[in-house]
């Protein structure tokens, strides 16, 4: 089915079109969200929300970009919204940490996320990398994840984030630099 026909069917509320689009994009949405938010349950909830949004807003979709880019954009936006919510919750929790003793406060961050798609021998290194990715600023985090995990080109990332190609290149360059620095600090404290 051509993309225009699929969009038309979606706009007409055809349930088969709904099923078809989910078969096509469910893993893409879930994996993108999972790599950014680093929590399976949250990524599953976000995947549901993304498709609800897609179906509810498909009539407003002007086809200025491809359907895939549009769905990626919704996924990134929804995931970052959730990341912000989690961060503000965490900040509240950090406030209570002020009252804990010095030893408890200085506990180093430990890797907590194990991506199900990582080979066994890479699991430890990958979970440390995910910990470093978590500390990146939002845009760098998204650009690096889309490039490294989703294996998207800089051009595709630029379309999704509505940025210039040069900005994406710069984002990913800075992300790599920051990751190297974070990893260096981590390994220095864990040897």
């Amino acid at each position: 089915m051509r993309e225009e026909d699929l969009i038309q069917s979606l706009q007409n509320g055809d349930e088969n079109a709904y099923r078809s689009i989910m078969d096509q994009y469910a893993n893409m949405v879930f994996n993108t969200s999972l790599s950014i938010i680093q929590n399976t349950a949250d990524a599953q909830d976000i995947t549901q929300e993304v498709f609800v949004e897609v179906f509810q807003s498909i009539k407003k979709f002007e086809q200025k970009s491809s359907l895939k880019t549009w769905i990626y954009r919704i996924t990134v936006t929804k995931t970052l919204d959730e990341v912000k919510k989690l961060k503000s919750k965490k900040r509240g929790f950090m406030f209570t940490r002020v009252f804990k003793n010095k030893e408890e406060r200085s506990m180093p961050d430990v890797p907590h996320f194990h991506h199900p798609g990582i080979e066994l021998e890479q699991k430890e290194a990958a979970s440390i990398l995910f910990l470093a990715i978590e500390k990146l600023p939002d845009k760098q985090r998204v650009a690096f994840t889309l490039h490294k995990v989703e294996q998207l080109s800089y051009k595709e990332i630029a379309d999704i984030l509505k940025m210039s190609l040069a900005s994406v290149e710069s984002l990913i360059f800075r992300a790599k630099q920051n990751l190297q620095q974070s990893l260096k600090t981590y390994y220095k404290h864990h040897t």
Binding site: N27, F30, V52, L129
Partner: protein, 94 residues
């Protein structure tokens, strides 16, 4: 030596996502999404409840306005001076 080991670890970590496989989305996703689309979002009231709430608010506001208007009219109507008022004025003059 130590630096080389550190660099090797960093390189290994950065390359650890190179052959990442895709994770599978929830197989019940379609049913869950369809369910979410047909059920009202939490926090959104049914239209009947909204109408009942609106009617209750209008009734309470109406009763308050009516009562206020009634008491205003009662207070502003001309009254005969009471006996005490007469004597108070009388004492004041003298």
């Amino acid at each position: 030596m130590e630096n080389k080991d550190l660099e090797r670890k960093i390189e290994t970590a950065l390359a650890s996502l190179d052959h990442i496989q895709r994770a599978e989305a929830n197989p019940f996703l379609f049913t869950q999404v369809m369910e979410k689309m047909t059920s009202p979002a939490p926090g959104i009231l049914k239209p009947m409840v909204v109408w009942q709430l609106a009617a209750s608010i209008i009734l309470v506001v109406g009763l308050n306005l009516g009562l206020g208007f009634y008491s205003f009219q009662k207070n502003s109507s001309p009254q005969q001076p009471t006996e005490n008022a007469y004597f108070n004025n009388h004492l004041y003059y003298y």
